[in-house]
Amino acid sequence: MVRAEEAARLDRLESQVENGGGGAWEYLCLVRKLKARRSDKVLKHGLSILNDPKARSKLGGEEWTLYEQVAFAAMDCQQHDVAKDCIAILSKEFPGSTRVGRLEGLLLEAKGAWAEAEKAYERLLEDNPLDQLIHKRKVAIAKAQGDLSAAVNLLNKYLEIFMADHDAWRELAEIYMSLQMYKQAAFCYEELILSQPTVPPYHLAYAEVLYTIGGLENLQTAKKYYASTITLTGGKNTRALYGVCLCSIAINQLTKGRNKEEKEGSNLQSLAAEALQRDYRERAPKKLPLVISMLKNMKLNS
């Protein structure tokens, strides 16, 4: 997750470089550090530095990192010959290196030669069985071929070893969601919440999964997690506000017969409804009537 100030700095540098001012190298370094995906810009400016022998020699040892970065960007922009040239230069400099081998595998992947890419990765894995990036590339191959169940198997095997890698958990959760395996997705989101409890998107996603699975207990839990998302985002997350309202209605429908607890849940719901209306009034006033009528319907039905 990129922080706001760094994102702003990145945009500023980008516009500066685009308009002919200097600072291309600084921009490339920042992109690398933040792992942002701006492949076309990186390709353009990186190539301009690499093709200029004076600028290239100024970089010194960083030149090879730049080659790697440009090769990635070229593959992302489907410019395979550029990527092949960069990789050829790198492999001449560092023969037999795992990092260059990974790039070659990536090039095969980019061209769509899945079987050859897999063979290349297997070879690399024999020498380095604990290389995390290669394992992840195998999962990416399976996903790109559309074989989601194979991707799930590979990810599970990966997570058996590297169980503290929260990016992998996130990927697994998304795949489970697309496969509609909601209970497993809920488990993954719980892992994510455990490792980073103050990150709102995970609470939100967990609440959504619980709401989708349904059932009274899950709905109540989902409402709590929507509420925690509201707390963590200071009430600005519209989806969470909607979530609270919808959960309350669903719960009321399920407990229509049994009037045992008139909880203060209705307090939260009415507050969320008001906040929603305010939000729409400020940001999309044309849609405000729709929201008001929808909320009125919900209150009538509950």
Partner: protein
């Protein structure tokens, strides 16, 4: 005799400061030499896995309040189950670190190299200090000490009537040895091979590290009570919204 001895400032200039400077330089030299000599240890699958398990277990402990009670209980059993829990280490595997060290020559070589890189500079510096800087009073410790310390701190001084607070340069050497650790972590960054004191402690009790930490994590998880933090967050959400709507 409690008279105050006046120590020449030349002692400070030519003994205390050079000794500290020399020790810092030797420390930096050792750091770079150890970096050069460090053999590339291929990470062991088992070690990596255990490290990750510990991380995950620690996350569970830290954020237990954020997941529902049922999930927490399920995970607790998963980790601490007697038969195949993640953190459960059968007793047989535990005490075999020594055997492992002797059977695997690489491990033994690494240990020896690390120990040597620590022992030799220490010995050399100590001998140098003794040769050049003995036989005079180097410094005065600001607090009074009993007579038992005399043998340790006043080694070169053969007068038994001098106050024990006046020490020889050998004690200044020891002071530096333990005290420069903080300075090294500042100038050499976090991962420096200079933690002699830590290494000395580790050497004395070379247990099987992962087993101990796994067992420790298991015990901590056993103890934990699940306290669900979500209702509190729900209350706070109400307040947040109230403020927003006002």
């Amino acid at each position: 005799m409690a008279e105050d001895l006046v120590l020449d400032t030349a002692i400070r200039d030519w003994v205390l400061v050079p000794l500290s400077v020399v020790m810092v330089l030797i420390g930096v030299l050792r750091y770079f030499v150890s970096k050069l000599m460090r053999s590339h240890q291929a990470p062991d699958l088992k070690v990596v896995k255990e490290g990750q398990v510990i991380l995950r277990a620690r996350n569970l402990r830290a954020a237990a309040g954020f997941i529902p009670a049922k999930s927490f209980r399920a995970r607790k059993i998963y980790y601490t189950n007697e038969e195949n829990g993640l953190l459960h280490v059968p007793k047989g595997q535990a005490q075999n670190a020594q055997a492992q060290m002797f059977s695997d020559p690489n491990l033994a070589m690494d240990m020896m190299k690390k120990n040597l890189s620590m022992i030799i500079p220490q010995t050399l510096t100590f001998a140098w200090v003794n040769f050049f800087f003995s036989g005079f009073v180097a410094a005065k410790i600001p607090f009074p000490l009993t007579h038992r310390f005399r043998g340790m701190l006043q080694n070169g001084i053969d007068l038994s009537t001098v106050d024990v607070s006046y020490v020889s340069s050998r004690s200044w050497y020891f002071l530096n040895l333990f005290g420069l650790r903080g300075l090294f972590s500042l100038i050499l960054g976090e991962e420096n091979a200079m933690d002699d004191t830590q290494r000395m402690m580790q050497m004395s009790g070379f247990g099987f590290d992962p087993t101990k930490s796994l067992g420790a994590e298991k015990d901590s998880i056993d103890i934990i009570q699940h306290e669900w933090a979500l209702p509190k967050l729900e209350k706070r959400a109400e307040d947040v919204l109230k403020k927003l709507v006002k």
